[in-house]
Symmetry: C2
Subunit: 451 residues, 2 copies
C-alpha cells in the first residue's frame, strides 16, 4: 500500500510543478486527509498555504486537524481573520483544544474572539480542565438520546445529527438533567424492532470516567473494556463529553514516549523532537545529568577515601568500570520491568513482596554467573587471588543490590503517590554505584589486608 | 467508578462465601466480562473452575477471552473434552489464535481435533501466518457485502449476520473472487436512501494491509488513519481478514513494552512478568549483561595499559565513575529520543543529518556545562590543575561522544534493516565507555606528562 500512496504523492508533485491546479484539486479530493497533511508537511510555508487553499472547506478542516503544531501556527498566521475563523469554528472541539494548547496565549485569545459565542463557551470549558485530564481531551460532539425514545425515534435523531458528531456507533441516554442513564450501541438500535424502548436496549451500568481523571488512567479504562467510546461525567454525574478510541491510541503512544524519556533521565519534551530547540532539549536533559554529577560527589569522595587501597593495589582500579556498568544496567533492567508492569496494570502494589523475592533470586543467579566470569577475567590478568575474589564477590553483591534497588524504588514511588516512571535510569544507577563502590573497597580492604 | 466496581466485587465474594450460588450467578450476569475475569484471576484454580461453570455459555466465552495465559491453560485442563470443545469452537478466531500461541503444542493438537472442520481450517490458517504478522492477529469474522447490493439489502445482510461478527460498523465490499472493492461505513448505509447502490457509498481506495505485514507496521497504519477496522489482504488481493481498533491498542502496548525491555538490554519476555519463571527471566537478561562483561574485557585491558598513569596520579581513579556514568547516561538519552522518534514515525531515515548536528551541538552544550562542574569538583578536592583540566576536557569529550554514538547507532541499525530499538542502553554505554576511557587517559598522559 505504501507504493500506491507514493505514486499518488508523485502525481501531486507533478501536477503542482506543471501548475495544473484544477487537476491537482481533483486529485487531492480523492486522498485521505492524513496523506494530504503529509504532503503539505513536506512543503515550504508559502506552497503549503497555497495548496491548503485549493481544498474544499470540509476537507481542509480535516487536513488541518492532522497537521503538526508549528505548521498550523504558520498557516493560521497567513490566513485572513475570516479564513482563520472559518477553520477553527468548524474544527472538532477536541482537536481545537489540542491546537490551542500548542499556540501562544495571544494567538489563542485572538482566535477565541473570532468564535461564535456557542463555540467559544465550549472551547473555554474544555481548555479550563487540567491539562492531563480526561476533560481536557474529550469532545462534546456525541449523540445524546432522551430516555423515553423508541428505537425508531433514536434512529431518526441519529440520522438528523450524524454529520456533526464525532461518532454515532455509541449513543448516550440521558435524563432531563443530562445525567447519564446508560449507553446504547448503534448495532442494538438497528437490530431492535422500531417500537422497542431505548431504555430497554441500553447498558444501564456503563463504564465511564470523570472530567478530573488523569488521561492515562482513562485510556487504561477504555483499553481494558475495549470501548469504542466512553462517556465523561462531571462531578454531578452529568454527561459532558466523550472519549473515542482514536484519542486513546494517541494518549497511549504519548504516555509511552514520556515514560521512555523519563527512564533515560529526560524531563518529558512537549514538542516533537525536530520542533524542539537545542536550548529546550539541553534544559530537559540537564536536570538528571546534574543529579548525576551531584551524586558523583559521593563516588569521588568514596574513591578518595580508599585512595590508599588503590595506591597499594592499582589493579583494583581495572574493574571499577565493570562494577559501575553491571550494577547500573541490572538496576535499570529491574526498574524497567517493574515500571512497565505497574504502568500497564500487570503489576499492582500488592505484588511487591513477590517481585522483591523474585528479583533477589534473579540477582543471585545473574550475579553469581557474572561474578564468576568477572573473577575469571581478573584471574587471566594475573592480578592475584585477593583481587580475583574481591571482584567476584563484589559483582555478586552489586548485581543483587541493583536488582533490589531497581525493583523496590518504583513500588516506593507509587506508595508515596509519585509516578513510578520517575525512577529513572540515572537515579537508580548512581544509588547502586555508590553502594557498590563501598562494598567493593570494604571487601578489598579485608581480603587484601589493606589500610 | 472504581468504587462501584469494588463494591460489586465485594458482593461477589460475600455471595460466594455464603454459597448463595443462584444470586451469585445473577450478579455475575450484570458484570462486564473483563471484570468477571479479574475476579476469577484472584481465585485459586478450583474455585475459578467452579465460578466459570456458573456462567451462561456466551458470557463464559467472553470471560474466557479476557483471562491470562496460565489461567486459561488450567481451566482447559480441568474441563471435560466436551466443555473445552464448546469454548474454543465459539471463541472469536483471533482470540483463539492468541490462546493457541500460549498453549503447549500437544494441547493445541488435541483442541484442534475437537474443532468442527470449518473452524479447524480457520484456526490452522491463522496459526500458520508468521507470529508477528497482521495475518496472525486478524479475525475472519467481518461483514462482506456483494458489490451489487443496495443500502437496504446491505442492512438486511448486516442484521442477519451481526451476532457472529467482530464488528458491523465497517463493512467490506467484495467481488465474486473475494477481491476487495471498497469499504463502507454503517453510518453511510443508514443515512442513505434504501435503493442507493452500496458501490456508490463505498470508499473505493480503502486503506488496507497485507497478511505478511509486520503487526507493528499495521498498527501504525490503523493509528495513522484513525481506522475503526482495516481490511487484511492476501497476495492475490483477496480479503481474508480484518484488524479492529482494540487489537491495535494491544499491539501498541506490547510493542512499547518490548522496546522498553530492549532498551534496558532485556530480550523481550513473552509471558507476563509474574508468569515468567526465574530461569526464563535470568536467560533473557543474561544475554546483554554478558555482552557487558565481554566488552568490559576491553575496559579492564585499557586500564591495565594505563596502570602507570594511575600509579603516578591516583586521583585519576576518583573520576572514573563520573566519566562512565555521564557518558552512558547521555548516550542512552540520545538513543532513547532517536529510537522513540523512529518508532512513532516522527523521525525518518532522512532526518539523520539534522539529528546528528543537533546532537553534537547539544553534546557540546551539555558537556561544556557538566565538564565545568566536574572540573570544579576536582578543584575542590585539591587534585592539581593537570587532573582538573583532564577531567573537564574528558567530560566534554565523553558527553559529545555519547550523544553522537547514541543518536547515530539507531539510524545505522535502521539502515541495515535491523529494528533500531535493538540499540540498547548496555550496548551504547559500553561503546561510549571504551572510547571515553581512552580519551581520558590520553589527555591525562599528555597534560600530566606521564609514561
Amino acid at each position: 500500500m505504501k507504493e500506491i500512496r507514493a505514486k499518488i504523492v508523485a502525481s501531486v508533485e507533478k501536477l503542482f510543478g506543471r501548475k495544473q491546479f484544477k487537476a491537482l484539486k481533483d486529485l487531492l479530493c480523492t486522498m485521505e486527509p492524513v496523506d494530504i497533511a503529509d504532503v503539505l508537511s513536506g512543503k515550504p510555508p508559502a506552497e503549503r498555504v497555497f495548496l491548503f487553499r485549493l481544498l474544499p472547506k470540509d476537507l481542509a478542516i480535516d487536513v488541518f486537524e492532522f497537521l503538526e503544531g508549528t505548521e498550523r501556527e504558520e498557516l493560521l498566521s497567513s490566513f485572513t481573520d475570516a479564513e482563520a475563523a472559518a477553520v477553527i469554528e468548524e474544527m472538532s472541539d477536541d482537536d481545537r483544544t489540542a491546537l490551542f494548547d500548542e499556540l501562544p496565549a495571544k494567538t489563542v485569545k485572538k482566535l477565541l474572539f473570532h468564535l461564535s459565542p456557542e463555540e467559544r463557551k465550549i472551547a473555554n470549558t474544555l481548555l479550563n480542565y487540567p491539562e492531563d485530564s480526561a476533560g481536557h481531551i474529550m469532545t462534546t460532539e456525541f449523540i445524546d438520546l432522551d430516555e423515553t425514545l423508541t428505537a425508531s425515534g433514536a434512529l431518526d435523531t441519529i440520522r438528523e445529527t450524524a454529520s456533526k458528531k464525532e461518532t454515532i456507533y455509541t449513543a448516550f441516554v440521558v435524563d432531563e438533567e443530562r445525567r447519564l442513564k446508560g449507553t446504547v450501541r448503534l448495532e442494538d438500535i438497528i437490530l431492535a424492532s422500531p417500537d422497542a424502548p431505548v431504555s430497554g436496549l441500553m447498558d444501564e451500568h456503563p463504564v465511564f470516567t470523570s472530567t478530573e481523571t488523569d488521561r492515562e488512567e482513562a485510556a487504561g479504562t477504555m483499553s481494558k473494556y475495549d470501548l469504542q467510546a466512553m462517556p465523561v461525567l462531571d462531578r454531578e454525574h452529568r454527561l459532558v463529553g466523550i472519549l473515542t478510541f482514536d484519542d486513546i491510541l494517541d494518549v497511549v503512544q504519548e504516555e509511552a514516549t514520556e515514560d521512555f524519556e523519563r527512564m533515560a533521565g529526560i524531563s518529558p519534551v512537549e514538542e516533537s523532537y525536530m520542533d524542539a530547540g537545542v536550548l529546550t532539549l539541553t534544559r530537559k536533559r540537564f536536570t538528571w545529568l546534574l543529579v548525576c554529577i551531584v551524586t558523583q560527589v559521593f563516588s569521588s569522595f568514596i574513591l578518595e577515601n580508599y585512595a590508599f587501597a588503590l595506591e597499594s593495589v592499582v589493579a583494583l582500579a581495572f574493574f571499577i568500570p565493570l562494577l559501575i556498568d553491571t550494577g547500573g544496567n541490572t538496576g535499570t533492567q529491574s526498574a524497567t520491568l517493574v515500571i512497565r508492569g505497574l504502568t500497564t496494570g500487570e503489576l499492582s502494589g500488592d505484588d511487591v513482596k513477590k517481585v522483591i523475592s523474585k528479583e533477589l533470586v534473579l540477582g543471585l543467579l545473574l550475579g553469581g554467573t557474572l561474578g564468576a566470569l568477572a573473577a575469571l577475567r581478573a584471574l587471566t590478568m594475573g592480578t592475584g587471588y585477593g583481587v580475583v575474589l574481591t571482584v567476584g564477590i563484589s559483582v555478586v553483591a552489586v548485581v543483587s543490590l541493583g536488582n533490589l534497588v531497581g525493583s523496590l524504588m518504583p513500588f516506593a514511588a507509587r506508595k508515596f503517590g509519585i509516578d513510578p516512571a520517575i525512577m529513572s535510569g540515572p537515579f537508580i544507577t548512581t544509588v547502586v554505584d555508590i553502594i557498590g563502590l563501598l562494598v567493593y573497597f570494604e571487601v578489598a580492604r579485608r581480603l587484601l589486608g589493606l589500610g
